[in-house]
């Protein structure tokens, strides 16, 4: 589904990613962990197509297409979803209106009929309930006055509405208490399926107790230094990130 090859990225001349290789197969969950400043969020932003990043080298192939060549909205319509670490507020635009436009843009792209207001509302109610949010949230302006937890749950709600093929979760656990964390994780788990993949970016192992990954990668200084299964996350938890650079034995990472 997703192949990242030797990806080098800089911002304002400063190198952030120094040769990332990553393969994501359909239906798998990959956790990308790493200390602050290791390039985790840059990776998420580059996949989603945010402006301001210079691709110096390498390629990203998504379902056989050159992902880096697509505009962000095309990536979204093709099924790439980014759950933002810091979702922005858009005053005066209701979540309902926004999501309906988004869902219909995606449906149109897929050659499907657009949803009527009634159909949309029915679908939205169905998706929002399990996230412990009230349908009234739909009438509020996008993220305006939302608590940290509400913002993150809204991201998961949007993901559920858009049914992406590749979901990138950028530090979705940050700022969540344990109850909110469980709700968010349940939301993600309920979306796991054989043709949907997840890249879960997190600083802490905590989230991975609830969203159990198939693979764990450790990003350090712009490179994936270590890959393994879910036990790697536990090891990181107990030993911290410091040991990676000290006695790391580089492992083959491609092809997991």
């Amino acid at each position: 589904m997703l192949q990242i090859r030797n990806l080098h990225v800089s911002i304002d001349g400063q190198k952030i990613l120094r040769g990332i290789d990553l393969d994501v197969q359909p239906g798998t969950v990959h956790a990308v962990m790493g200390p602050n400043g290791s390039g985790k969020s840059t990776l998420a932003s580059v996949l989603a197509g945010r402006d301001g990043y210079e691709i110096e080298e390498g390629s990203v192939t998504y379902n056989g297409q050159d992902l880096l060549d697509m505009d962000p909205e095309i990536r979204a319509r093709e099924g790439v979803f980014l759950a933002f670490q810091y979702p922005v507020e858009v005053p005066g635009v209701t979540t309902m209106y926004f999501m309906r436009e988004a869902v219909n843009a995606v449906r149109k792209h897929r050659g499907e009929e657009e949803l009527s207001a009634g159909e949309f509302l029915k679908l939205a109610r169905q998706k929002i309930g399990p996230l412990g949010m009230d349908a009234d949230m739909l009438k509020r302006a996008i993220n305006e006055g939302f608590s940290g937890g509400e913002k993150k749950r809204s991201e998961i709600f949007q993901m559920a509405m858009l049914e992406p093929k590749l979901a990138v979760l950028d530090e979705t656990d940050s700022g969540l208490d344990i109850d909110a964390l469980k709700i968010v994780a349940d939301g993600v788990n309920s979306l796991r399926s054989a043709d949907r993949s997840f890249v879960v970016i997190t600083h802490y192992q905590r989230l991975l107790n609830y969203i159990v990954p198939d693979y764990v990668h450790v990003l350090s200084d712009g490179k994936i230094e270590l890959s393994g299964d879910k036990t790697l996350a536990l090891e990181l938890e107990s030993r911290g990130y410091g040991w990676i650079n000290d006695d790391v034995v580089p492992q083959a990472v491609a092809g997991v």
Partner: protein, 482 residues
């Protein structure tokens, strides 16, 4: 790297949709302004002596006045002798008695503008007065309105048919000596609309005037007067367009509103005069004085404006809150793109007790334009318990445009409560990216963000106008991002 800032810069103005010229036989006065010009206009309209005298007095006052220089706009000096002060379609010489007699070319013009004058075709519930250059060419639904006791006609006709009403109220809110442009208008105004809602009547439909400048080198000086007697209600809409011309054209209108006890007047404007081309050539100078007097107790005047056109806008729809418990409102969206300049806002003068006013202003600047909010809230000594809330938000698109806020507060009663909030933001690249990431393209994202920003104002507009305004906003800013 194509940053969003560069995208913002990649600004190409959308073609102005209403820029066509109607080829019609016109009677136009040669350029120049003297007492004879004033006499000519007055004679043309077969006006009574008192009105000619009123005009001449205004003209003499105007001669002694100077153009205001305090607005935050710049333009080359206007040569008032190079403007023609009267242009009228020839066929309107003897005013048509029914729509069937209106020149088909004119009907076609309004059709093209999306304002069908055929009564059958007119949107249910909206009566239209169409003003073409200097004269009113058609007023629809007059009979239906007359049945309700509502008078809706051109001001020239009103002078003939209801001289006592016109004489009583004309200039009573905006006296000729009020300011340079009001004096000029008083001297040479050619037409406009007159509305009178008698006591206890709720006007059965929305009233609207559609202003169209067609002739070249011609100024448009319309005068609108709306009087709402006790316990009456009227909602009035105003729209404006003009052809694309290389030269600037002057539009100096005066609008006066009078609300008596418990009366409510809702006045909405969608101003889309030709803004000039993307290099700043041509466009309308929109120098307008609009003011309403809440004379009766608990009366209410509400101004809503969406200003997207004109090369320069200079306008401050205001309320004088005389009656105890009267209410003034001002909701404004002003958009400037390319080289447009806007200096707009309001004045709320609290004179009566327990008067309240609300100001919500949204300024959006793109291109190399300049957008200023200028507002005065004045609480007079006897305005016990007066309250005002003002909110002025500015949004910048790109980094070559300007947003300015000039709020003036004058409080002379210590029981008054006055609140002012102001924000300035740049349209967020983060916001656009967020919407992009959900599959929404940049143009739609910008329109969504801007419409969200203006929501509090749009919801004050009558339904059809709100839809129109949203579309217009999209068009005005088209190409300003991405």
């Amino acid at each position: 790297m194509s940053s969003a800032v560069e995208q913002l810069e990649g600004l190409t103005a959308q073609e102005y949709k209403y820029g066509f010229v109607t080829d019609i036989d016109q009677e136009t006065l040669p350029p120049g302004l003297t007492e004879d010009t004033v006499r000519f206009i007055s004679a043309k309209k077969e006006e009574p002596e008192w009105l000619l005298d009123w005009r001449l007095k205004a003209f003499r006052q105007w001669q002694g006045m100077t153009e205001p220089t305090w607005p935050n706009v710049s333009y080359p000096k206007i040569d008032y002798q190079s403007i023609s002060y009267y242009a009228a379609p020839k066929s309107a010489d003897d005013k048509p008695k029914s729509l069937d007699e209106v020149d088909p070319e004119l009907l076609a013009t309004y059709e093209k503008l999306g304002i069908p004058l055929e009564e059958r075709a007119v949107l249910a519930g909206v009566a239209v007065d169409a003003v073409f250059d200097s004269v009113s060419v058609a007023t629809t639904f007059r009979e239906k309105l007359a049945d309700a006791g509502v008078i809706f006609m051109s001001i020239s006709e009103a002078v003939r048919e209801h001289p006592e009403l016109v004489r009583k109220y004309l200039g009573s809110v905006v006296p000729p000596s009020d300011n340079f442009f009001a004096a000029l208008n008083s001297a040479v105004f050619s037409d406009g609309s007159f509305v009178f809602i008698p006591k206890g009547v709720t006007c059965p439909m929305e009233l609207s005037t559609y202003f169209r400048i067609n002739a070249m080198n011609t100024g448009q000086f319309e005068r609108t007067l709306i009087v709402a007697e006790d316990d009456s209600y009227v909602s009035y809409l105003e729209g404006c367009t003009a052809p694309m011309r290389d030269q600037n054209q002057l539009h100096a209108a005066v609008v006066e509103l009078v609300a008596l006890e418990n009366a409510r007047i809702k006045y909405s404007t969608v101003q889309n005069w030709y803004p000039g081309d993307k290099d700043g050539n041509g466009g309308i100078y929109n120098f307008v004085t609009k003011r309403g007097a809440c004379r009766g107790k608990r009366s209410k005047i509400s101004w809503t404006q969406v200003e997207t056109g004109s090369a320069i806008t200079w306008k401050y729809p205001s309320c004088i809150l005389i009656g105890d418990g009267s209410v003034g409102e001002f909701y404004s969206v002003a958009v400037t793109n390319n080289h447009q300049q806007a200096d707009t806002g309001t004045k709320m003068i609290h004179i009566g007790k327990d008067t309240t006013s609300t100001i919500v202003s949204k300024g959006i600047s793109a291109g190399v334009s300049n957008n200023s909010y200028r507002g005065l809230v004045k609480i007079m000594p006897k305005a016990e318990g007066a309250r005002n809330f003002s909110q002025c938000d500015s949004m910048l698109m790109g980094d070559r445009c300007g947003a300015h806020t000039f709020p003036y507060l004058e409080v002379r009663n210590k029981t008054a409560q006055v609140e002012h909030e102001a924000t300035t933001s740049k349209i967020g690249e983060d916001q656009i990216f967020y919407l992009n990431q959900r599959g929404i393209e940049t143009e739609d994202a910008v329109s969504m963000i801007v419409n969200g920003f203006c929501k509090e104002v749009f919801r004050e507009l009558p339904m059809e106008f709100a839809v129109e305004a949203q579309k217009l906003l999209g068009v005005s800013l088209e190409g300003s991002v991405g």
